[in-house]
């Protein structure tokens, strides 16, 4: 078959970093090709080279059999290469049509004005041709994320793209929207377009792609047909060692209730009820998962529970004591550990070394401070223990937090929080942006805490994560808990509908006390 794209020996160096090291990539015309790798593996850099944003230090770019020299994305677009970035480049108050034709509008009256009628017609023809369900007159700010993504794709197609690069296209989508996207990709390849999509999610690569190329540390580890490979083999290619993806675990033996949240209401900065009357409880020895699309009140719920934001209504009872208005420090001292969703903003002080970061949250605890004086020797030992136990690399307590990779930063935060010997752990997106190896490790630790009889509240938008770790799974939508389901029996489709605020049939719910499954 004809090759749509052939990258030959691409090396891209930045000062002090080799982002791509002699990478070959061949993509056949009319196929979906997944570019899989962990964060920092060089996927986006490689695609930016193909799209003309970067010029390769060495190597050549061939498109449709011809060697090309792209000095800018304009050159790439002229040769039929389009890219859809992770963050959309759309003008919110303008219509779909205006966004798609922006910069290439059909003109009339000697090019003095835009021919709106023709624009509209061209866009709706294009949309129909590929089976996109897009209203050309809708304003961008009024349509959902999935539609916005299709508008981005249409924009590239309008400019004559034959090869479409999608950078992490599923990061912002619900499971249903992901399904829709994959259908769109299929339609596009049927009509002869070529798709390259960047992802770090194994399942998506296997589901949507015809071929998968794995990058690790800037090198091409191999290209495999998606049908002939298992998840375990792919994970091993990504990480470079064997990875256990599934946890073996015993059924939960929950004890007394540790956290009770009653009718909680939290308003956000604009006075909107981000959390709108949530009640839930977490018992010792169980993991309560909260699934939902980001931005449905998870952050506000977590901040109210951990004491970073005071709720407007409702009560929070922890270990039998009403702690609704307790300060953050009082909650830490009461044995509440919290893995925040943003480790670089909240969880770590980026300019502090690991010794100082190991103290964060414990700076007034008697273990580390007496009469206001910090015992730095003891604090250093503590940090070194975390580094050793949680395999933080490099193993250097004097390293600044900002010099660590995301996975190692997260391992340090997790280690510090678990070292508090907490009765309750609130883990918010504990493996977001973390490599597969660290993720496996963090899951293992969360599970060990549950076995040790601790209560765990796990918030994640990663369905596989909440499904495999939770004993009960609450679905949050627009600040309310829609349902609490049995994670082992609920289907991904049912979860997706619940996350979109709908009520599918025959959902295996669990009563709030955890007893009496339907």
């Amino acid at each position: 078959m004809e090759q749509a794209v052939h990258l030959d020996g691409i090396t891209k160096r930045f000062p002090g970093v080799v982002a791509n090291d002699d990478v070959d990539l061949a993509v056949e015309k009319g196929t979906v090709h997944a570019l899989l790798g962990e964060n920092g593996a060089g996927k986006t850099t490689l695609m930016n080279v193909l799209y003309g944003l970067y010029q390769p230090t060495e190597g050549t770019v061939n498109v449709h059999g011809e060697t090309q020299q792209f000095d800018s994305p304009r050159d790439a677009i002229d040769e039929g290469v389009g890219m859809i970035h992770q963050h959309f480049m759309l003008v919110d108050p303008m219509t779909v049509t205006e966004n798609i034709t922006l910069g290439n509008e059909p003109r009339k009256w000697l090019g003095l004005t835009v021919d709106r009628e023709q624009s509209r017609q061209e866009v709706s023809e294009l949309s129909e041709r590929y089976g996109f369900d897009v209203d050309p007159d809708a304003r961008i700010e009024d349509v959902g994320v999935g539609v916005q993504q299709r508008v981005e794709i249409l924009k590239a197609l309008y400019r004559g793209a034959d090869v479409l690069i999608l950078d992490e296209p599923t990061a912002v989508l619900t499971p249903q929207e992901v399904e829709d996207l994959f259908r769109v990709l299929e339609e596009l390849t049927d009509q002869g377009k070529t798709i390259i999509f960047i992802t770090h999610k194994l399942g998506e690569a296997m589901e949507a792609a015809d071929e998968i190329t794995v990058l690790r540390e800037g090198k091409n580890v191999g290209t495999v047909p998606a049908d002939d490979i298992t998840r375990e083999e792919l994970a091993e290619m990504m990480v470079g060692r064997e990875v256990l993806l599934d946890l073996d675990r015993d059924p939960a033996t929950p004890g007394q209730s540790i956290l009770d949240v009653e009718d909680l209401v939290v308003e956000d900065d604009r006075g909107v009820r981000a959390v709108d009357g949530i009640s839930l409880n977490v018992r010792a020895g169980e993991v309560l998962g909260i699934a939902g699309v980001d931005g449905n009140g998870q952050s506000e719920l977590v901040e109210a529970i951990t004491g970073l934001q005071l709720p407007d209504e409702g009560t929070i009872t922890y270990d039998g004591v009403d702690r609704t208005t307790d300060s953050r420090r009082e909650r830490i001292e009461a044995g509440m550990a919290y893995i925040p969703e943003d480790r670089q903003e909240r969880g770590l002080v980026m300019d502090f070394d690991l010794v100082e970061n190991g103290l964060l949250g414990s700076q007034h605890a008697a273990d580390y401070t007496s009469n206001g004086r910090i015992n730095w020797d003891h604090t250093r030992d503590h940090a070194e223990d975390i580094i050793e136990e949680y395999d933080v690399r490099p193993p250097d307590a004097d390293a600044h937090a900002k010099s660590l990779s995301g996975g190692n930063q997260q391992k340090f935060v997790v280690g510090r929080e678990f070292a508090r010997d907490p009765r309750l752990v609130v883990a918010s997106h504990p493996t977001r942006g973390v490599d597969v190896g660290s993720m496996e490790f963090i899951h293992d630790r969360l599970n060990a805490l549950r076995e040790a009889g601790r209560a765990v509240l796990l918030i994640s938008s990663n369905l596989d994560e909440v499904q495999s770790l939770s004993d009960r799974l609450a679905v949050i939508y627009e600040g309310e808990i829609i349902d609490i389901v049995d994670p082992e029996r609920v289907t991904e489709e049912q979860l997706g509908l619940l996350m979109a605020g709908q009520q599918p049939d025959a959902v295996p719910t669990i009563a709030a006390d955890g007893e009496g499954r339907q």
Partner: protein, 426 residues
């Protein structure tokens, strides 16, 4: 360089790394952000030398353009009025009392004048630095110093009328320092409370309170505490027991080694507070990354209030020392030690120990300027230009270092990959 910028395309993201030149500057800034203490000292010294070279050129050009009766050099019709080498010789060596001339003693009057300025600047530098470390820009050290100065003067005058002799000797100076700390601390607590509980920007409030301090002290002294025997707006002279003894140095120099020692004790104290106490940890965390401090259980309102109070107290003690060592009374029109403290703190990278050296440089420049004015015919405005040049040169690397640190904090990977990615792997 092959790229002519992707920014020409309206629908593409501007990527900083695509511009090789900008990326090089970035790397250099980030490198500057990671310099060690030794490297920073070396950079500061190089900057000092460079500023003198540039200053020499300026003095020479000015000297060629000026007309004077007895030029230093004459080539035909051109005359050079100022000798740049002599100007810098006076500015630095003069401030130290000519250490390379025979019979030099460190106890000379000019060196005492330098140390006198240094002592006050250590306090104001510490005051600004402490607030800076908590992420607060305290422009109000000047006002806090003025209030502390008046509080110290009035307290010592009042207590001096009650006690005398040996008791006064051991009591009055500590009491004056305490009064300065309380006055300045109170005056720092006002913007502190406004920021902590009413979210008022401290830059605005502290600047405004500086004016309030000047006017209120002027009113109080003129109308209630004026020295009836003087034309100037000032209080009566403090009792001798309430003035710092000039150990070793000539009493006429108005400098006290004891005051300098106290300043150094406070340097150690602030360093200890920042680096070795839980409160200092809270303060630094709140200053560097407020969201993380909140996460770590730091009460941000209390930290803001406490650090501005402490910062004000340090400024107030500076004022007390100025009254009890330099003036011997309170007088309106106090020099701008508080504002100079901001520069001292920036030069020192907000490090309490660095503040000693920055204050010394400032002290040298201040007292050296007087020597230059006395020994040469160079106009004082030109000396001001030279001082500004030196401070600018020494402060700029520190300024760029702060930018470099910001850059490296924002992007831990020097590589522009998709770190903002959404969910984790499955």
């Amino acid at each position: 360089m092959s790229d002519d910028g992707p920014s020409q395309n309206g629908d593409d993201p501007p990527t900083p790394d695509s511009d090789d030149r900008w990326s090089q500057y970035r790397q250099r800034l980030i490198r500057l952000g990671q310099t060690s203490v030794g490297e920073r000292v070396l950079i500061a010294l190089s900057a000092l030398v460079l500023s003198i070279v540039v200053g020499t050129v300026i003095v020479t050009v000015a000297g060629l353009m000026a007309t004077c009766r007895s030029p230093v050099l004459t080539f035909g019709s051109t005359t050079l009025c100022y000798d740049p080498f002599y100007v810098f010789n006076r500015l630095f060596l003069g401030a130290l009392g000519d250490p390379f001339v025979g019979g030099w003693s460190p106890l000379n009057a000019q060196f005492a004048a330098t140390l006198r300025e240094t002592t006050i600047l250590v306090f104001t530098g510490l005051s600004v630095a402490l607030a800076f470390r908590a992420g607060i820009f305290n422009i109000g050290t000047q006002g806090q110093l003025i209030v502390g100065a008046l509080a110290a003067a009035l307290t010592v005058l009042w207590a001096g009328s009650l006690v005398s002799g040996a008791l006064a000797l051991v009591l009055l100076i500590p009491l004056g320092l305490l009064a300065g700390a309380v006055g300045g601390g109170f005056y720092g607590a006002i913007p502190g409370a406004l920021k902590a509980y009413a979210d008022a920007n401290e830059v605005i409030t502290t600047i405004m309170l500086n004016f309030v301090a000047v006017r209120v002290t002027l009113y109080l002294v003129r109308n209630h505490f004026a020295d009836p025997t003087s034309q100037a707006t000032q209080t009566r002279t403090l009792p001798v027991e309430g003035q710092f003894p000039s150990i070793l140095f000539d009493p006429r120099t108005d400098f006290s080694l004891l005051a300098l020692l106290i300043a150094l004790v406070f340097v150690g104290g602030v360093y200890y507070l920042l680096e070795h106490t839980a409160f200092g940890y809270d303060l630094r965390t709140a200053g560097i990354q407020p969201a993380a401090a909140e996460y770590g259980g730091v009460d941000s309102a209390r930290t803001i209030l406490t650090s501005l109070t402490l910062s004000g107290a340090l400024g107030g003690i500076g004022g007390a020392v100025f009254v009890m060592m330099t003036l011997g009374k309170f007088q309106t029109g106090i020099p701008s030690y508080g504002f100079d403290g901001i520069t001292v703190s920036i030069l020192a990278g907000n490090n309490p120990i660095g503040a000693v050296f920055a204050a010394l440089l400032f002290g040298v420049l201040k007292s050296g300027s007087n020597v230059v004015a006395f020994a040469t015919n160079v106009p004082p405005q030109l000396v001001g230009v030279l001082r500004g040049l030196i401070i600018l040169f020494v402060a700029m690397p520190e300024f760029f270092r702060i930018i470099g640190r910001r850059l490296s904090t924002r992007e831990p990977d020097s590589q522009a990959t998709a770190t903002a990615g959404g969910g984790a792997d499955d």
